[in-house]
Symmetry: C2
Subunit: 303 residues, 2 copies
């Protein structure tokens, strides 16, 4: 799946994933009001609004980008209806030819990680029938529990020809609190990077990728040196402060190997001054324009 | 909530939480077959079987223990119907007076962690209506992203008078891979323990607890020295190898401050030789007997 992801990046000339993190404040009032008119002030209304918002966004960007990344927390907060919207969004995005990266950051001990991996990448047997719950193409995984927490994801990703991204160096301000701690002169995130190398396999790209925040370019460079054929999922671009030119050293020798996420910067572009002329009703066109601008910005990183 | 948890531990003389991790292989065939007869070989059948199994277990142990701990992965693997069973299990356990610890091990960057915290401990506003999705009393949180990933949980736990358990030293074989790495002579888990102290507040017990595996007694002792008024959620007892006598040093000076989890050892007790006489149909009575035996075993730790 990482190889397919990189082929799509190449074909579309866009190492971009659109983060579908539908905070209710991003959803145009017309969509929200219609949903409330139909379902009342309920989680069903929120879920309906989120689904409609996502469908319009997916339609607007599907020919431009290889992938979308729904952040499950933003759906889980609406309970069961929210998780149905998560599921429907995955189905819809796949129908439009997009690769779906489930940003789930799960991780637990062996048998429990296996249950998560089955839920999101694999299948579960019920009697003699196999059933897929959420069926993302790639998911994010938290490494704090060590190999026996991650390997069940690796195993099922391999069986299903899918992939995972392991959190190595995250984009948030306090990511360094534990991740940067120096152990014999090397930060913790480099030990995680070593394991990402060990856990993965596949050519030209490993099926185990790494999450490396756009907000830490020095660290990004260092991790790339250690992981030449690993795909980086890069959060922190745009709203969190990362810019295309900061990402120069994240790309691999072929000018590939990365997929940069933008959520708010694309899906709520219509709220920015630069795209205000689209208005609320033009949110999907504004998102499309923001993707095109991001494409240009990322080209600079390689020029 | 941590204070209430400790009061219940004292009242019931049982620092025990029953892990509701309903692997399908634990569910008696009669329950599973009935569910399949009604729903076919579908996730709905799995969810119905899980719900019925849990209700019987809760009925059998509610007067003996203060809390149950459903592991969400075991429900998430069945998709939406599974998550409905998770939700129903929480409601049922609370009706029976039990405290519910959601073993969710979530953790993300700020706004995303807040969404998780709202989903599991708090409320979300939809229009002018407030809505609670899963509404556990306490949840487990992964610290790899640092303070800004954990503090949203702390904030919402405080608002809702609930609590969290942060993963400090987990019970699995490879937990040391990252958690034991030495930084200036102290392992990483001790830096996490420092933060647990800093993040929490409350008397006599902090609202931020720590997950400390039963399988690492030396580490447990060291963490207790650092965190005298923190409640430890202790996995790894029983099936993973931890024994009551290993836990002596985990208790606080009042012989409290811990809640020891057993999942398989209780809910699938009927599969063990010691409880085989209960048979499959007697799974709930076997679970009750296993709780009573665990109570005795833990008393030894304090004698």
């Amino acid at each position: 799946m990482m190889n397919r992801l990189m082929e799509e990046v190449k074909k579309k000339e866009a190492p971009i994933v659109v983060g579908l993190d539908p905070n209710l404040s991003f959803i145009p009032s017309k969509i929200m009001n219609n949903a409330i008119a139909e379902y009342g002030e309920t989680p069903d209304a929120a879920a309906e609004a989120v689904s409609e918002f996502n469908r319009a966004l997916i339609d607007a960007v599907a020919d431009l980008v290889p992938a979308v990344k729904p952040q499950i927390a933003m759906y889980e907060q609406f309970g069961i209806p929210g998780l149905l919207a998560f599921q429907n969004t995955i189905v819809y995005a796949k129908e439009k030819g997009l690769i779906v990266i489930g940003d789930i950051k799960r991780g637990d001990i062996g048998s429990t990680s296996e249950a998560y991996a089955r839920a999101h990448l694999g299948k579960i047997m019920i009697g003699n029938a196999a059933f897929s719950a959420f069926d993302e193409d790639i998911v994010t995984v938290n490494p704090y529990l060590g190999s026996d927490g991650v390997l069940p994801f690796v195993k099922i990703a391999k069986e299903e020809k899918k992939g995972i991204f392991v959190l190595v160096k995250t984009s948030n301000p306090s990511s360094g609190e534990f991740q940067d701690r120096e152990i014999d002169g090397r930060p913790l995130y480099m030990y995680v990077a070593d394991k990402v190398k060990e856990w993965g396999e596949g050519e030209p790209y490993s099926n185990v990728g790494a999450v490396v925040g756009a907000t830490y370019p020095e660290e990004g460079k260092r991790i790339r040196e250690c992981l030449p054929n690993t795909v980086f999922l890069i959060p922190g671009y745009g709203a969190q402060g990362g810019k295309g030119k900061d990402l120069k050293e994240y790309f691999d020798k072929d000018g590939l190997g990365v997929i940069v996420n933008s959520s708010r910067g694309i899906i709520a572009a219509y709220k920015q001054e630069a795209y205000a002329s689209y208005g609320e009703d033009g949110f999907a066109d504004a998102a499309r324009a923001a993707v095109l601008a991001m494409k240009e910005d990322l080209k600079e990183a390689l020029s």
